[in-house]
């Protein structure tokens, strides 16, 4: 009798302990994603600082405001249709209310009127997980923002940000960045920390936009040689990059799935086992290799050295869950060097005015990242079907993402160009966006300086006013 009673008490204790452990696990996961979201805010503080520093002073405030307002538009659009796109389109297009997938639980939880979006006491994770993805969306939209500064309209950027941040990238994420996406299931596509899914697609989208937007007035000489606009505060730009780097640790962590009751406690987005430490290790070696490659390829140029760090990390992201540190270091170094050359080629040979090198740093490095997995990390089972990663699968993903990103960016900006709402009037561009959009009296008198200058292709620095006014008539907008 007593023995039975003791056994029952022990059983109740075990049950209580188990319940507490489960609750602890849930709250641990909730807190984990919450803090990744907080850390990822630094990416946006960084993008703002980075791009504002690159801008000429007459465009500084407009550049900063553009970044901040990304949050104002991508947040609701991602909530109203972005999360639905991710949860309901993983098997591929088209899906809709009559699709069998639409009735699935995952899909239902993605619709904006789902009860999982409120304070649902039975689901602690859904909202913080949604927020982590929302921060990914801000990041993706912000990648495009820097490339188009100093001549794109704020409203045009905001609409493009919604398209990229709340539709395009999340659609490719549904296809290739989920355990049940068709690229994953059929081809073993492997992009664990979103080299291509976020950065590659954003770079391709940006390139499409830049083709329609055109260069800044005065960027190229009549002969097609590239001039340089001097950043108004390079220190601010470098600080911004450092903030982005810090935020990237949160980004990387948020790309993992925490499963604290299952060994080893962590899984990548494809639900394959990994560890937080291994991911953090690769990101750090990615920075190291990227800085080094960027420094030597650019012969010590500060902008490209630090941008090389970003390119390095992006290039190792796809395989960060399986790479050895040395491989990550070498891949990042080589990729950063390639990105420097690609950036120069895009600017000087292709005459695409990408103010911050986003197409090279994010686009080229992102696609390289996908490629490297096929070259160096084939054979890792990926997704619910356990299809091995392979060069074929990676090429399939690249062949899908490149047109998806480029064509949507090109078409959306083409429509805006036809409606004459893509670019500011030339008068505004010459005077500076701050004057037209915000308070013109931004600067203290003691901050006055002789005037805006421009760096000619031969390296001479000359006052810009006459060049810009002449160039206004040379540039076909």
């Amino acid at each position: 009798m007593i023995a039975t009673l003791i056994a029952q008490v022990e059983s109740l204790k075990d049950a209580a302990s188990s319940e507490a452990q489960t609750l602890d696990s849930v709250i641990l996961g909730e807190q984990f994603y919450f803090f990744t979201v907080v850390i990822m805010w630094l990416i946006h503080a960084g993008f703002m600082s980075y791009e504002t520093g690159i801008a000429r002073r007459k465009n500084a405030l407009a550049t900063a405001m553009k970044n901040i307002l990304t949050i104002a538009v991508v947040t609701p659009t991602f909530y109203y249709f972005g999360w639905w796109i991710y949860n309901c389109n993983q098997p591929g297009l088209p899906v809709g209310p009559n699709s069998s997938d639409f009735t699935s639980v995952a899909c239902q939880s993605g619709i904006p009127w789902s009860d999982t979006f409120g304070p649902n006491l039975t689901n602690n994770i859904n909202l913080v997980f949604f927020l982590a993805f929302l921060l990914f969306s801000w990041t993706t939209a912000s990648i495009m923002s820097g490339a188009i500064i100093e001549r794109a309209r704020l409203s045009a950027y905001l609409i493009l940000a919604c398209i990229l941040g709340s539709a395009v990238w999340i659609l490719d994420a549904a296809w290739g960045w989920s355990a049940g996406g068709w690229l994953t299931l059929r081809f073993g596509f492997h992009d664990s920390i979103a080299s291509g899914v976020v950065h590659g697609v954003a770079g391709a989208f940006t390139l499409g936009v830049l083709f329609n937007l055109g260069p800044r007035i005065g960027k190229y000489t009549r002969e097609g040689l590239a001039r340089q606009f001097r950043p108004h505060n390079l220190h601010m730009t470098l600080l911004g990059l450092m903030l982005i780097f810090t935020g990237f640790y949160g980004f990387y962590a948020a790309c993992l799935v925490i499963a604290s009751t299952t060994f080893p406690g962590w899984a990548n987005i494809y639900l394959s086992p990994t560890t937080l430490g291994s991911i953090a290790m690769i990101i750090t070696f990615g920075f190291a290799g990227g800085f080094t490659g960027g420094y030597f390829a650019s012969r010590g140029d500060p902008f490209w050295t630090v941008s090389g760090g970003l390119a390095g990390v992006i290039s190792v992201s796809a395989g960060a869950d399986v790479y050895a540190p040395t491989l990550g270091y070498l891949i990042a170094m080589a990729s950063a060097a390639m990105v420097v050359y690609a950036g120069t080629w895009i600017e000087k040979t292709q005459r695409v005015d990408d103010a911050v090198g986003a197409v090279a740093v994010h686009g080229v490095a992102g696609f390289l990242g996908m490629l490297w997995v096929g070259v160096f990390a084939a054979g890792y089972p990926t997704g619910l079907n356990n299809v091995d990663s392979s060069i074929g699968g990676q090429l399939m993903g690249m062949a899908t993402f490149l047109p998806l990103g480029f064509l949507t960016g090109y078409f959306a900006s083409w429509v805006m160009k036809k409606l004459n709402i893509l670019r500011v009037p030339p008068e505004v561009e010459l005077m500076g966006l701050d004057v037209a959009e915000y308070d013109p009296d931004l600067y203290l008198p003691e901050m006055a300086s002789p005037g805006e200058v421009i760096v000619e292709p031969d390296g001479t620095i000359v006052p810009s006013e006459a060049i810009l006014r002449t160039a206004r008539d040379e540039v076909v907008v």
């Binding site: 000429r56 007459k58 009860d115 001097r230 009037p425 004057v435 009296d441």
Partner: protein, 114 residues
């Protein structure tokens, strides 16, 4: 005093008082008696126990959501129109004789320390 809009779902019971904290666990202080029938209770939401997780809400919450979608679209359109008007006004004023204030001074010139 009642609120102007009482959006609490029916699962919120408004029972007098609530369970007292358990004496053997001082951390157990969440006053959840009024909400014990609720899986969730967001404003205008369906409330009650939801049953299958993820089923869509209906009526008031659906209307609220679509209201948000309409506002989101209107905001984007307004942003385009407002900025367009502002930029055109500036450009017209510039062509007519220039703005009343000049552009802010730019760094990087000869003798500039920046």
């Amino acid at each position: 005093m009642p609120g102007i809009i009482n959006s609490a779902p029916d699962c919120v019971t408004h029972a007098a008082g609530s369970e007292k904290a358990r004496v053997d666990d001082s951390a157990d202080f969440i006053l959840q008696a009024d909400y014990s029938d609720c899986a969730g209770f967001m404003t205008f939401g369906p409330g009650s126990t939801y049953g299958d997780e993820g089923t869509g809400a209906d009526t008031a919450y659906m209307i609220l959501t679509w209201l948000g979608i309409v506002v989101m679209v209107l905001v984007l359109v307004a942003w385009v129109l407002y900025e367009n008007r502002r930029l055109i006004q500036f450009a017209v004023g510039y062509r007519a004789g220039g703005p009343t204030t000049g552009p802010p001074p730019q760094p990087g010139g000869v003798g500039d320390s920046q």
